[in-house]
Amino acid sequence: MALSDFIDSIAPPWAKAASRVHWWSMFRLAGVLIDVLIEGVYQGRKAGMPNAVDLPGIEAYGGFEDVRSLDYIGEDLGVLHGLTESPPDYAYRLRHAASPGIGWQAGGLVTGVLEQLAGILGPTPPLMRVFQLQGGDWWTRNQDGSYVHQRHTGDGRRYNLDGTTTPDATVAVLVDWDSATVPPPADQGQAGRWGIVIYAPLNTPYGTTDDGTFDDPGIVGDLWNDPTTQGPDPGPWAGTVGTNAPICLVDLVRSVVAQRSMVGFACCYVVIAFDPDSFNPDGSSSGAYPTDGTWGHHTKFVAFANTRIPARLGTAEYWPAAPGGRAP
């Protein structure tokens, strides 16, 4: 019961007499003011708690509806917010910002990177894989949240959701990304390089398809489709070449990778795979794998034909993982 109503309920009859009712209304007005002050403090305290929930029987978002407060909390905890990530999902990640499963206690680990990517690409995170540019270790995060670690040595395992593990004897593909690339990339041969494969759709409606035809503005209104328009430094929602992901989604993915990966072991490529059958670690994909060392550039020179042909699998797009791109 509001304080003003309570005051009204306890008023003696003489206080409500016609000649005095205006004073009693003043009392109630004072009660309204106190009610509002206390309610403000109450709401303010809730605003600082990432308890936004949306469950039957519980007040929407735990009673504090302005979910922008979650972003303020996220700034302090270092948890980035996905473009289509629901407030309850984001609030959950904020509450577990330091957890060993999905939070900072997994920083620098494969799971630390992939769980944060799954978070920002929610509510339906895509299938993702981590691979070595020179090696045979593959990690897969399935869409149900389980993991598979497959190795060229055949002693991998599955990490099931119930906490159990199952040996996986798959002999994973031995990746050789760029050892034979000419001209050699600046980081050719460097140990510790790795990449991520993310299977489209990335983050519906973004990253679901390519960037359309030249004159198709697509979902994000690619400026490059209109040669008569000289745009300023592109805004975050401008389009990118290759997919219909806006710049801000590309930057978000890169930021998460940079934030959660270990210094000195560089993520070189974020591969957006449009063929769900591509890049299977067991070697069963019909498309090409990065095993001949010629994937360092988009194209490779074919001497006998005196021409350049695509070096990489054509059903995928290859984002440089570092903002600003990698050395060609």
Partner: protein, 480 residues
């Protein structure tokens, strides 16, 4: 939507007008019509409620609510916020240093008691805190002749907190200058009869961590939970390093840049004034002590960490000519001081490697930014205090907002200071609302343009720019 986060962190108009208007409207729903006339008793009662309700909300509720968010918290609330997350604010410290004293008198002296000796330097005083480790605090009788004087070493501690009491090495005056307070015959000195000297280290104190620095460190500290050396962990470890001493003092390093390579991480360090002091071979220096902790807490197998002071890049911005309207009443001295304060503050926070417009691109000191800052005024992070004398041009934070006074004065001896967007007079001071928060730059009063010949200057990724400049102020009467 009911209440928004903006509603909860933005002060109400301090004159109570917003609340008053709402109360009048609500009164109507309760069947009470309140004439909008200041002479009406009902209006006066509602106006009174509006004022005290606003004061209560602005001075008590809003700071507590804002304290939950790093971007809004300030002062003691910011300290509490980050402390609750395991990050303690580096407070201002009292500097101290061991100083040798000698006895030139013929009487035994026991100066071991705290306060037995007081020294002075540059208008500040320093009181003995007892004998330094290994010393007794007693001075034997000087036998005379050409014998060296008996000596002992006391720890001298500044009586005033902060860097204003800093003392350079060997700066305390020896014989014949007498200490500010000491037994007869006791002087600062090394006790060498033939050619006496004064030898002591520097007395260095900290002014305490700013809210901005605490915010950056607090956010970076979230990565300390990471078992592996992620980027933020480097920043958190470096910025939380203390130099050994009694008491330990935080490093002066405030800027860090990590450049990762192939299984390597090159860490470059800078203080607010330039490259961090020291190297990885000299204990007790910033670079050394930070490297110790980086190797310990970020050193993963196979990862090579190299710690360096940032390379100094001297940048000469030349003459910055500020144009000030005569009607603003701003003097040349005030405009110059305002611009200098803003520029010095800004460049103390300029990232190592400069600013860049393209991710991973070349960094610069951008001329446009220098020009903008030169026309700005630094918002203070100092909290408002009761009964304080504020000079013209002073800025304070109070009740979650920043305020500026053109004429200065003495603040009220009661209350919580200015609040809202139109604060009432505070003692003899009229405060002007600058905006929410406790730091940043706003347009300086009276300044309407700047002229300079400085152009964008490239900064290498491992360099820290130190910018020299000359301020010239031209006051222009717009009426002629």
């Amino acid at each position: 939507m009911a209440v928004t986060i903006d509603d909860l962190v933005t002060p109400l108009a301090s004159d109570g007008s917003e609340v008053r208007g709402d109360l009048i409207a609500i009164a109507g729903y309760l069947g009470l019509t309140i004439p909008q006339s200041p002479s009406e008793p009902g209006y006066q009662l509602v106006d009174m409620m509006g004022r005290w309700g606003t004061r209560l909300w602005n001075s008590r509720a809003i700071p507590a609510i804002r304290a939950q968010f790093g971007r809004f918290a300030s002062g003691d609330w910011a300290t509490l916020l980050w402390r609750s997350r395991g990050v303690d604010k580096n407070l201002a410290t009292f500097g101290s240093v061991p100083v040798r004293l000698e006895n030139r008198g013929g009487t035994f002296q026991d100066v071991s008691a705290p306060g037995a000796v007081q020294l002075a330097y540059n208008g500040k005083t320093y009181t003995s805190a007892g004998p330094a480790p290994g010393s007794t605090g007693t001075l034997g009788i000087w036998p005379g002749g050409a014998t060296n004087y008996p000596t002992t070493i006391l720890t001298m501690q500044a009586d005033e907190v902060g860097s204003a009491s800093n003392v350079p090495p060997n700066a305390f005056a020896g014989y014949p200058a007498t200490p500010a307070s000491a037994p007869p015959g006791v002087y600062v000195g090394d006790g060498i009869f033939a050619a006496d000297t004064v030898t002591h280290g520097a007395l260095v104190a900290s002014n305490g961590e700013t809210d901005v620095a605490l915010l950056a460190r607090g956010r970076a500290a979230q990565a300390l939970a990471s078992p592996m050396p992620v980027l933020l962990k480097f920043y958190a470890v470096a910025l939380s390093t203390f130099l050994p001493g009694s008491p330990p003092t935080p490093v002066a390093t405030s800027r860090v840049r990590v450049i990762p390579g192939a299984a390597t991480a090159d860490v470059y360090l800078a203080t607010p004034s330039g490259p961090s002091p020291g190297d990885t071979s000299t204990p007790g220096t910033d670079v050394y002590e930070i490297d110790v902790r980086l190797q310990l807490f970020c050193g993963a197998p196979g990862l090579t960490i190299r710690t360096h002071p940032a390379a100094l890049l001297n940048v000469n911005a030349g003459t910055l000519t500020l144009y000030v309207t005569a009607s603003s009443g701003v003097t040349v001295a005030a405009a110059t001081a305002t611009a200098q304060a803003a520029l010095d503050d800004w460049q103390s926070k300029l990232p190592i490697g400069g600013m860049r417009k393209v991710a991973n691109g070349i960094g610069y000191v951008f001329a446009a930014e220098v020009g903008k800052i030169a026309q700005s005024q630094l918002q203070a992070s100092a909290s408002w205090a009761r009964g304080q004398t504020y000079l013209p041009g002073a800025t304070v934070t109070a009740n979650g907002s920043a305020y500026y006074t053109a004429t200065g004065g003495i603040s009220a001896t009661t209350g919580a200071g200015p609040s809202g967007t139109v604060p009432p007079p505070d003692g003899t001071i009229t405060w002007i609302y600058q905006g929410p928060g406790a730091s940043g730059y706003v347009q300086a009063p009276g300044v309407f343009d700047v002229a300079m010949s400085f152009v964008d200057t490239a900064v290498a990724a491992y360099q820290v720019a130190v910018i020299a400049y000359t301020i010239v102020v031209v006051i222009v009467d717009q009426g002629t």
